[in-house]
């Protein structure tokens, strides 16, 4: 199976090398900060370096409430009830990369929040590739039980210029539970990244996801899917920075399975250099009285880059209201002149506009998470200017 890959990667072995926080090198911690991960700030942490070096931590307080933060391999072994949650939201043979992860599983995070427990100070998870040419196929499972709440902040970074990361993630948001999930990607120009995510939101639950891509990648394709049951809500925001020679095919999908569910997908991209970006949005209505909206906007800032937006609305039932808007353009001259007339230099005006363009979706996130994301957005703004 590995032979089907375009490059030769090092898959290592499945073993666990637990490490503690102090043994994580400063250089790695520095890169982690760029993608929003500061270990002192997490109420729980999961850090995985390459295949097997894993640092996991959960605060005394959360542990006493029954919150679990560990690796999926450990959870699968220790908790029989956990097995129910593996490969249920996604199929093993969904595509080549899900099958690959099933065969070459190298850990991933497992997080469980018991009923009615609220984890407000975020739990953090970070995947880091430190060695050259590593393949990091991970399987992540998150369960927020009935009435529970979890803020999960994740970041991915690397010290190696090349590698492969496949993240198969299954999130289960049970009745009236809430999960906010942020993911900041800071990979590298020769990296291949293939996330495969499925989220099931049960009756009355809420799922909010916020994704930012910061650095150039060789190839990144993903289309996380959220399944909404009755009265459930889903908000998916993506902020993409396409630079250098990146190829990115990034989508979001919401499937309305239960009546009275609501969902919104917002994607904004800034594309320059020779990057090629495909932005997909897909809404599927299968129940009555459902409402979904999809917005895809892109600022294309160079002659040799390209952007394709593919908004898709599908409905199988009367009474599912689905709408979309998509736009690709430059920063309009009129906007620039207006701001310059107010006293801003052209550079300042561009900054203001870029900043305004990427500041979406924050309203759905709790204040603690919003604050750290503002720092990430400042980085996006700086990098967007070339």
């Amino acid at each position: 199976m590995k032979r089907a890959l375009t490059k030769k990667y090092d898959f290592g072995e499945l073993k666990k090398e637990p490490i503690d926080e102090s043994s994580i090198p400063k250089a790695i911690k520095g890169k982690m900060k760029y993608v929003g991960i500061e270990l002192e700030k997490g109420s729980g942490n999961y850090v995985q370096i390459d295949h097997s070096r894993i640092y996991q931590f959960v605060s005394e307080y959360l542990r006493s409430l029954g919150v679990i933060v560990t690796s999926t391999t450990e959870a699968y072994e220790k908790f029989t009830w956990a097995k129910e949650y593996f490969w249920k939201a996604l199929r093993v043979n969904q595509d080549f990369y899900t099958s690959l992860t099933h065969s070459y599983w190298r850990h991933g995070y497992f997080i469980y929040v018991p009923p009615n427990v609220k984890v407000t100070q975020p739990i953090q998870a970070c995947f880091f590739v430190a060695s050259k040419g590593v393949a990091q196929p991970v399987h992540n499972v998150v369960i927020v039980d009935e009435g529970g709440e979890l803020n999960l902040v994740t970041g991915c970074a690397t010290m190696s210029n090349e590698g492969l990361h496949v993240g198969v993630s299954e999130f289960y948001v049970k009745r009236k539970a809430k999960l906010t999930f942020t993911m900041i990607h800071g990979w590298a120009p020769e990296f291949e990244v293939r996330p495969r995510t499925s989220v099931i939101v049960e009756e009355g639950g809420t799922y909010v996801s916020y994704y930012v891509n910061l650095y150039p990648v060789s190839h990144l394709d993903m289309c996380p899917t959220t399944y909404l049951h009755k009265l459930a809500k889903g908000y998916m925001t993506s902020i993409l920075l396409g630079k250098k020679r990146s190829f990115m095919d990034i989508g979001s999908r919401i499937e309305f399975l239960g009546r009275d569910s609501r969902g919104e997908i917002v994607s904004r991209s800034i594309v320059r250099d020779q990057a090629r970006v495909i932005m997909r949005g897909h809404l599927i209505g299968r129940a009555e009285k459902t409402r979904g909206h999809l917005e895809c906007r892109s600022l294309l800032l160079s002659q040799r880059a390209s952007v394709t937006t593919i908004p898709q609305l599908e409905s199988y039932v009367e009474g599912s209201e689905l709408t979309h808007e998509a736009a690709i353009g430059r920063i309009s001259e009129d906007q620039l002149y207006y701001l310059m007339a107010k006293g801003f230099t052209e550079e300042e005006a561009v900054s203001l506009i870029v900043r305004g363009f990427i500041e979406v979706g924050l309203v759905h996130l709790p204040p603690q998470v919003r604050a750290s994301l503002r720092g990430v957005l400042r980085i996006v703004e700086k990098l967007a200017r070339g």
Partner: protein, 257 residues
Amino acid sequence: MSYSSGEVILTSKALLRVRDLWVKVENTLVLKGVNLTIGEGEVHTLLGPNASGKSSLLMTIMGVPKFKVIKGEILYGGVNITKLPPHERAKMGIALAFQNPPRVNVKLRHLINRLKAMYPQDKFTVNYLNVRYLFDRELYHGFSGGEAKKVELYVTMLQSPKLALLDEPDSGIDVESLMSIANFINKFIESGMSMLIVTHLGSVLKQLNKIDVAHVMFGGRIIYSSKSPLSLLKLIYESGYSGLVKLVGDSIEEGLN
């Protein structure tokens, strides 16, 4: 007394001097030799039919790059600003309230905070003109006509300008908004700000506490100036702009050839 051009000499010091200004936008000549002088603390108004060059004149004084000066000059406070970029003119104290501001990808609150940090905030805080409820919206996205006018006027005055260029602050709004806008402008007139106000049908003029000079633009130039703005307005209402043009007569015919 009336004059046939914008050169009305009042007793105060000249703040703005526009001399024989010819301006092109793309390939169209929009200003054909405009002369105008505004003294410190004076309020001038610009009347005229559509496409007579009123907005173009304001945009050119502000320095919006689309408007290319092909002849003539603009002096502000004695300094030749004809080649200065707009942000430098703004820093010198000129501010423009756009007639049709574009949608901008910036939250209104964010723009306000930046402006407050960039310009000295005056002794009295600028009245919000009841637009606070719009602060978290993206600027001009889905604003009604009245909302856009008030917001634009508000952000312009946050610049604490010495010379305020107001492009039709009174078009497309209801009577109540007109009153609050007029009161808002009057406060600044009281404080001694110089202004050049383009008005739509003169609605706001009757509410302003002071208007020193009214100019009429036609075909890209100022054809008539008067120190009795309200009588001029009455004349225009009665005979239309064509009536006024007939009155000014020969000088126009010459200019157009």
